[in-house]
Subunit: 428 residues, 2 copies
């Protein structure tokens, strides 16, 4: 108990100074008292740990993470239980049902990854593609680029269809590429948050079936904000993230596989490269494989699952249609305000705009980094520039889930107006 | 706003019943009012989401996750900021320093994975081993088995040294195997939580250097509870988990690479199979690559990092030596109590026992599952059976970090005494 006292915060800085000056100190005397098997530490406790954790309040009006509602924060801050307790399985079962509702699917193989949207992206590709197989990726922003890179790393033959940011693909273009490359998997981003595009999905699933190809869709930025119907739209694999319209902290990622996808991934010749993302094990962990016992695979993020369940409960209470309608209405309010400021929306066609993340062209003569820095400094508000291929093209304003309110749109518009007034226009 | 009201919790069950009976309902009428582009949902909101989240209080006296201290829970439940905000980088820098202290290393390449200990395990193997290279794995419990499986999946030539649970390897045995198999990587578990063994580490790093092999050590179950000195012990790659003696919720996993490991992983011919776990990107995300800008890679678990920072701060305040001493003292108290109950400790040699997780042989004639169920039911206390090769051999009691108190050891002993009294001995 004596030792514990010596190490308290108040004494830590002094102690570290002493260690640094290499003089005999209480610390060193204490070390001599330790059991023989314990050598002395040579790296002292870091002084930065004397400072308490500080995180300022921020309006997170970028493309996510979005501000987390108090009840979701409270759920994530509850005392944890074991990841293999029956009550935890019950919570995971609830999450599964909540995802089925959010995805509009009856797929049994519906789980949450213990990781971000990228974990779901890798899980989808790792499990459904074997080395040497052909994959077709639609690239019109950063997410397609990522999937192409992931598929290449595992030895797939990757074929890409490329459009500039904000561009989209017709069903005819997709079918032509599919007929040519005969892929086992076709990837499309529903909510391309780097460009602010919400890609049409109707009919593509049918094209994929016709060509015996799995249809993989990324809804990280769109789920809960724009309509998606996994079963009706014949989407074979769908995933999302927790930190966008769902408003949970980042760190979990719902994903669902239909029967076609399960058939492909559970009849492969080689094991997926990742043990952690192997759906053979994850399906058991989530009780989707019909086995009576769940065998330890990895330790799931218990607090993250608590928060995810709460965020899915909010979506179930609100109702999907109401959530879609509300995002569309607030986005329309934002569009009008941006245009009133003389700003030009990046996606011309209203029906192709992503309701959760709005993009506008960087106003002529302004430095976008300077504008964003000004808004962060004077309004404690995050907006962001482009990402990947859209860098230098757009500024992005995200109003999702809890943040999706006309009053927040007005706050964002006021901050932009202020930045346009105070950030110097360059002479170029 | 009308619609929102209709979807509230109180109305949800009634609504679902109505959907199920297929009669026209308020819900259906609302759908007709929605914009044309939004088709109607066919999967109703799940009734389970009407129930609030419930998680009972539990004494988590298994091998982890362990109970999380209130101040760590509070940190994890704070409003989040963006994962790329300067304040978040500061928090990540603090985490890096906290890990350097906990690992006793000055390695610059020190980060936390956005995932569990298994993510760190895969990250270590994925980045340092290329297909066709030889890997040597010491297996004396489940963790070596896991690493062997991971290395096999990426096409390494895997050689194993196997001992029964609780067995350990002499430096001579390791050197012989190393000379024979010429591995690029040797894996050893410091804290084998499935058997309760704390493996000696001194001298193995030197053997590895002599044979031009990287030394990878798993301290998921031991970090903070038993001495480890990454730099002094010439450990090239070290990782741990957040949910053991560090007492944060599961979902983050500190890992560190020294110069030798960095040289190997940044001079490879092939890219690692995982984009998400590629240290080229992760080192940039954590500001370890000397580049001025951090480029978006994935969205880190902001709340998880808040909690991890707080747990590392507690360790820095307590002091490593005090934490090691305290775990040893409480474990000794538990050993005596178990022996007083007539139970036999699984690891005979006191110096080889893992202070965080104590194993004892299943008492003759008892059904271990029945005992554990009884203890959970009557004492709200988790203890666990074996894992992997130790299933059916041992019962495990974990007292780590926040839970590491003599009073908790006494609670565990009282529960065990009660179970021994009330669980029927079989006649076999």
């Amino acid at each position: 108990m004596m030792q514990r006292t010596v190490f308290r915060r108040a004494a830590l800085l002094a102690q570290q100074a002493a260690v640094e000056s290499s003089l005999p100190t209480k610390n060193m005397i204490m070390m001599l008292r330790l059991d023989r098997c314990m050598s002395s530490v040579s790296i002292p406790p870091p002084a930065c740990m004397l400072r308490p954790l500080e995180a300022p309040f921020r309006y997170l009006f970028g493309p996510g993470p979005s501000n987390v509602p108090p009840r979701v924060l409270a759920a994530g801050g509850r005392p944890i239980i074991g990841h293999l307790h029956p009550e935890m399985y019950e919570i995971m079962n609830d999450i599964k049902k909540g995802i089925q509702y959010a995805f509009q699917t009856e797929n049994n193989m519906t789980i949450s990854m213990s990781g971000s949207g990228h974990a779901a992206m890798e899980c989808a590709v790792f499990n459904t593609v074997e080395p040497g197989e052909s994959v077709l990726v639609a690239i019109n922003g950063i997410w397609g680029e990522r999937v192409a890179e992931i598929a290449e790393r595992i030895g797939a033959k990757v074929h890409t269809m490329v459009k500039p940011p904000g561009g989209y693909f017709t069903n005819e273009e997709i079918e032509q590429a599919m007929a040519k490359h005969k892929p086992v998997l076709f990837f499309l981003t529903h909510g391309e948050s780097s460009a602010g595009l919400c890609h049409p999905v109707d009919g593509i699933g049918d094209v994929c079936r016709k060509h015996n190809c799995l249809f993989l869709v990324d809804t990280v930025a769109s789920l809960g904000a724009a309509p998606i119907f996994m079963d009706k739209q014949n989407i074979d694999i769908l995933y999302t993230g927790s930190q966008k319209a769902l408003n949970a902290p980042p760190g979990t990622a719902p994903i669902s596989f239909n029967e076609r996808a399960c058939h492909k991934m559970f009849n492969r010749k080689t094991k997926p490269v990742s043990y952690l993302f192997d759906m053979t094990h994850l399906s058991n962990y989530w009780g989707c494989d019909g086995q009576p016992a769940r065998i330890y695979h990895h330790t799931g993020p218990v607090s993250g699952f608590f928060a995810l369940r709460e965020s899915l409960a909010i979506l179930a209470e609100t109702g999907l249609e109401e959530s879609w309608r509300h995002h569309k209405e607030v986005a329309a309010h934002l569009y009008k305000g941006l245009e009133d400021l003389g700003l030009k929306l990046f996606i011309k066609d209203k029906d192709l705009r992503l309701p959760s993340v709005t993009t506008f062209a960087i106003p002529d003569g302004y430095n976008w980094r300077e504008m964003l820095t000004y808004i962060m400094k004077h309004h404690q508000m995050e907006m962001t520039g482009g990402l990947g291929p859209s860098v230098g093209l757009v500024i992005r304003v995200g109003l999702m889930g809890y943040n999706c309110k006309k009053t927040n749109a007005d706050l964002a518009l006021a901050a932009l107006e202020d930045a346009l007034k105070h950030c110097k226009k360059s002479k170029a």
